[in-house]
Amino acid sequence: MSETISSFTGFGLGLRKEHHALFLDEAQPVDFVEIISENFMACGGRALHTLDAMRERYPVIMHGVSMGIGSPHGLNREYLDELKCLADRVNPLWVSDHLCWTGLPGHNSHDLLPLPYTNQALETCIANLLHAQALLERPMLVENPSSYVTFAESTMSEWQFLAALAQDSGCYLLLDINNVFVSSVNHGFDPLEFLRAIPADRVRQIHLAGHSQGPEGMLIDTHDAPVCPEVWALYQRALDRFGPCATMIERDDAIPPLPDLLAELDQARLAARELV
């Protein structure tokens, strides 16, 4: 996959149905919106009509949760065909998904499950990504997920795995700063070491989100709260390292009024201005 994705340095929001009407009724101060791809796949009716109208007003990014690039059983062809169909309709800035697996043939977890960072897992992810990118006819972005377990089988770190994946598959990276922070607390690594190892020329997007407190000091990536101060600080360090980058506030639960999210996005804009 020799195609490239040009840098796009705007500020956007994850599009949630609670805010659809507000986005369509008047121009909101965002440079892009990000949709959850699966919410608009294999369907018709009002959802696609709304998406078409949204596409006329804002650049759209397609963010998926179901590809399962870490599956040794290969990718689901029906899923890929539906994703391609949606991408052809939307013509998004880019298509992204997560570094994870989601299930086995015949048993889907509908979760972003963690991978052991081994050569076999890396080869699996590379092969699946090459397949997906060829079918979609575009390079993809891959996001680092939050995780709650590690595997004794791992032979490299998550950041080494991501760097190798980007180099060998031609994919780009969607860096979720909250996920870096959550995993660093859960597994006891230095988040700055993570950032330092990520190849800057492959990062095309940053997610910012909130998390919640889990059991025994663990953090859970719930996307139901504002971005916390530690994640804002880490975002500033990411900007120092990667430069201006498309940045998005991602909220999936306890959706607040749109002005609250726009105010959070302004905080990201302010951080980027400080960089300049």
């Binding site: 040794p72 059983h73 889907n108 509908h110 699996t124 590690t150 595997f151 025994e216 663990m218």
Partner: protein
């Protein structure tokens, strides 16, 4: 190795067995998330059914379903597809539970069904059909069409549950009714029909020609069939016609 590790992992989060991960507190997070996500999907898809049977019974039915029906599709939206059938077994003495759940499920399927336009009376007029064409004409159901026999007045149950009244509505037995669901424009529709109307509609849905249905209606029934056909077109119950090539 990767495939084996993943099989052990998903078995643990679905069934709570020992897994390969080094951190059991972390596995508990995945296990809880798996069950909560599926339970939430069922509660969202079957909101009226939950209200009708009550939270406690619904939670028990939901937990049973999660244990016995692992999700197989790539989309979580498909997870509740077998839940009405599971409820039919769990609530065998109360068939209205599964019937209400079936209505809820198919209303959502109709809402998101792939777009196909509705066949209108104007479309038929513009088609310039000859009399002989009507003999062979067959009708294609609308987007999201589904139907099933019901034993209770599910329509009243649905409308009663959509209000704010605290009291549950009365539930008179339906009289051999059939429940139809389809989508018109962007809105899912449903209607209960009686046995006479069903006897006319059913053969058309099975692919019989309009001529065959009209012949079966006979001289005495043809006027009523005409009224029903006009109503079906007005309701957007069909999407297209098919003629022999």
């Amino acid at each position: 190795m990767l495939a084996k590790l993943q099989r052990r992992f998903i078995t643990e989060i679905a069934e709570g067995d020992d897994g390969p991960a080094s951190s059991s507190r972390g596995m508990a997070i995945y296990r809880n998330a798996y069950r909560a996500r599926l339970a939430d999907a069922l509660a969202t898809s079957f909101e009226r059914t939950q209200y009708w049977v009550g939270d406690e019974l619904f939670s028990a039915a939901s937990a049973h379903y999660i244990l016995t029906q692992p999700p197989v599709s790539w989309t979580l939206d498909a997870y509740g597809a077998q839940f009405p059938a599971a409820l039919a077994k769990l609530f065998g003495e109360d068939p209205e539970v599964a019937e209400l759940a079936w209505l809820e499920w198919h209303m959502q399927q109709a809402f998101a069904a792939r777009d196909i336009g509705a066949l209108t009376a104007a479309d038929l007029a513009q088609a310039g059909l000859a009399e002989s064409d009507w003999e062979d004409l067959r009708l294609v159901p609308a987007a999201g069409f589904a139907c099933r026999p019901i034993t209770h007045d599910i329509a009243s149950l649905w409308h009663g549950l959509s209000g704010t009244a605290d009291d549950l509505p009365p539930m008179p037995n339906a009289d051999e009714a059939v429940l139809l669901i389809w989508r018109k424009d962007f809105s899912p529709q449903f209607r209960q029909i009686g046995p006479a109307e069903w006897a006319a509609l059913d053969p058309m849905l099975r692919g019989d020609s309009f001529g065959a249905v009209a012949a079966a209606a006979g001289e005495h029934g043809i006027a009523l069939l005409g009224q029903w056909f006009a109503q079906w077109l007005g309701e957007g119950l069909f999407s297209a016609i098919r003629l022999p090539t």
